[in-house]
């Protein structure tokens, strides 16, 4: 047992073992860089422990139960019961498998793992306070540091009390479905969880300051998801700000106010507040490095993920939008390669994003408006899912695939998909964009029948005026 302060050295110190940090550490070690990874809490970070993975596990359980309960049209009669405690235990197993895998992969690649909270002591030195009584601490001197400390839920307007007001983390650890759930915020996390809990049987009300669900997306995209959520019984209260809450004998009373100050009361048993996430920059004594954050709290970096300090890098949620796991990992790879002396840079043309609602949303690259703003004269092609044979056989024919291309060169610029498996379908468009593919290239690629991906091909053909399964405009 290590007690007291010992001191070691490393080429690359990585702070935080989320998808940004652990990917960077493994990649650097693979490149022969002596790498030390410090994690204060759990391997895999937000993503594996309380983000992407837990949420998708619950979504699968909710879809399985809800899907079977609503399949009379196809001759399936079922009245499923969901045992949330068991669902949670399963989710925990999935998480443990993956976090255990991360730890094993780090070790197998030769990453030095240190458990504890890293605090910078100087520009080249960090102190790691080990968890638990009498575990002491450790100093590590480093040539390069990579900060991947991620983000945490914004605690506003309400504080999280772990009982009445939960963050997504709390909601993803419930052992029972609340009868009445009030969700503050209709961003992607709020919408994924609202849909999930509605499918699991909760009465869900969503309070959103802005005037639409998923306001980051185009209207016709988010509308498909909002309608489906409404069909599941989700009640939306747009243009209302959550103001206060209190306990009453019959549950919680939440007061909201519209922009004129008009108040409304909502009854609920539980509040899930999902209004955004803040970068974590207050856990590692950034001051000792002399690094500053920007007005949004992020650590500024260049296209090599380098901070204002030449030997310090930052990746993932702490380094700016989009706060997505795959963006964190992509940056982690670049930073590791740069440390290893490779001429790497974040020069990917597009970062796809998915929302795992019902149906899913996935986008990559530019919308038509963004293309116009960027100086293109975009052409657009679209395929409605109700003309997709595969979507019909899945009994899930809502939404569409849209592609945006440059009118002159027909280079693919972007895609907006709201459809079953949108998160998977977007991969083909991401590759098309990175490759500098033209519409014709995608149209000439033979697509398997019957698949949802055929809709991508049809959208592309539609943009060229040669769609077969829809009328060309």
């Amino acid at each position: 047992m290590v007690v007291g302060d010992i001191s070691t050295g490393t080429d690359l110190l990585v702070v935080g073992a989320g998808p940004g940090g652990y990917v960077a550490a493994i990649r650097a070690a693979q490149q022969g860089v002596d790498t030390t990874l410090v994690e204060a809490d759990a391997y895999g970070g937000t993503c594996l422990n309380e983000g992407c993975i837990p949420s998708k596990a619950y979504i699968t359980a909710a879809d399985t139960a809800h899907g079977a309960a609503n399949a009379e049209a196809m001759g399936v009669h079922a009245d499923p019961a969901v045992d949330m405690a068991r669902t949670r235990a399963w989710k925990d197993e999935v998480v443990d498998t993956l976090t255990g895998g991360v730890e094993k992969l780090c070790k197998a690649n030769g990453v030095n793992l240190v458990e504890g909270r890293a605090e910078f002591a100087s520009e080249r030195k960090v102190r790691v306070a080990h968890q638990g009584e009498g575990q002491g601490s450790e100093s590590v001197e480093f040539e390069h540091a990579l900060i991947a400390t991620g983000s945490r839920p914004v605690a506003a307007p309400f504080d999280f009390d772990g009982e009445h007001v939960l963050s997504s983390t709390g909601a993803l650890a419930l052992d029972a479905v609340p009868d009445r759930l009030l969700v503050v915020g209709a961003g992607y996390i709020g919408m994924e969880l609202s849909t999930t809990f509605a499918k699991l049987g909760a009465d869900v009300t969503v309070v959103e300051l802005l005037d639409s669900a998923l306001p980051a997306y185009e209207d016709d995209v988010s509308r498909v998801v909002r309608k489906r959520a409404e069909a599941l019984g989700v009640e939306f209260r747009f243009g209302e700000a959550a103001e206060s809450w209190q306990e009453t004998p019959t549950g919680l009373r939440v007061v909201t106010a519209d922009e004129d100050g008009e108040e409304t009361e909502h009854a609920a048993d539980l509040i899930l507040q999902a209004v955004g996430r803040d970068p974590v920059t207050d856990t590692m004594n950034l001051e000792a490095l002399g690094l500053e954050t920007d007005e949004d709290g992020f650590i500024p970096t260049d296209d090599q993920c380098r901070t204002a300090l030449d030997h310090v890098f930052a990746v993932g949620d702490v380094a700016g939008e989009p706060m997505l796991a795959h963006k964190a990992s992509a940056e982690g790879e670049v930073a590791a390669d740069v440390v290893a002396g490779e001429p790497a840079a974040c020069d990917y043309q597009a970062i796809p994003a998915a929302v795992f609602t019902d149906p899913e949303i996935a986008t990559v690259g530019m919308t038509a408006d963004e293309a116009t703003e960027a100086g293109f004269e975009p052409v657009v092609g679209q395929m409605p899912m109700n003309a997709s044979g595969r979507a019909l056989t899945l009994d899930d024919p809502e939404g569409f695939v849209r592609v945006v291309a440059d009118g002159e060169t027909e280079f693919v610029l972007g895609a907006q998909i709201v459809a079953p498996e949108a998160s998977e379908l977007v991969a083909e468009f991401a590759l098309a964009i990175e490759m500098g593919a033209q519409l014709e290239d995608v149209a000439s690629t033979v697509h398997t029948h019957p698949t949802l991906a055929e809709a991508s091909m049809e959208a592309v053909m539609n943009a060229r005026g040669e769609a077969v399964h829809t009328l060309n405009r």
């Binding site: 001429p343 020069d347 280079f411 500098g436």
Partner: protein
């Protein structure tokens, strides 16, 4: 930068496969200045190599906005 660079950098984008972009960095070529000979003006690995051989503009020379 060279004026023919703007052809391939339309809309702030260079149309080139990741492999060509990486090659440009390796050879120290600013890909935004490389004229593309591929379909639609896509910059190919060959274009990047040609630019490197003819002493193309070094990478890191930012085109002013």
């Amino acid at each position: 930068g060279e004026s023919d660079g703007e052809v391939s950098a339309k809309g702030g984008r260079v149309f080139a496969a990741p492999s060509a972009r990486r090659l440009a960095r390796e050879l120290g070529v600013d890909i935004e200045t490389v004229p593309g000979s591929g379909p639609g003006g896509r910059v190919t690995e060959g274009d990047v190599r040609a630019a490197a051989e003819s002493g193309g503009e070094p990478a890191g020379t930012e085109t002013a906005d």
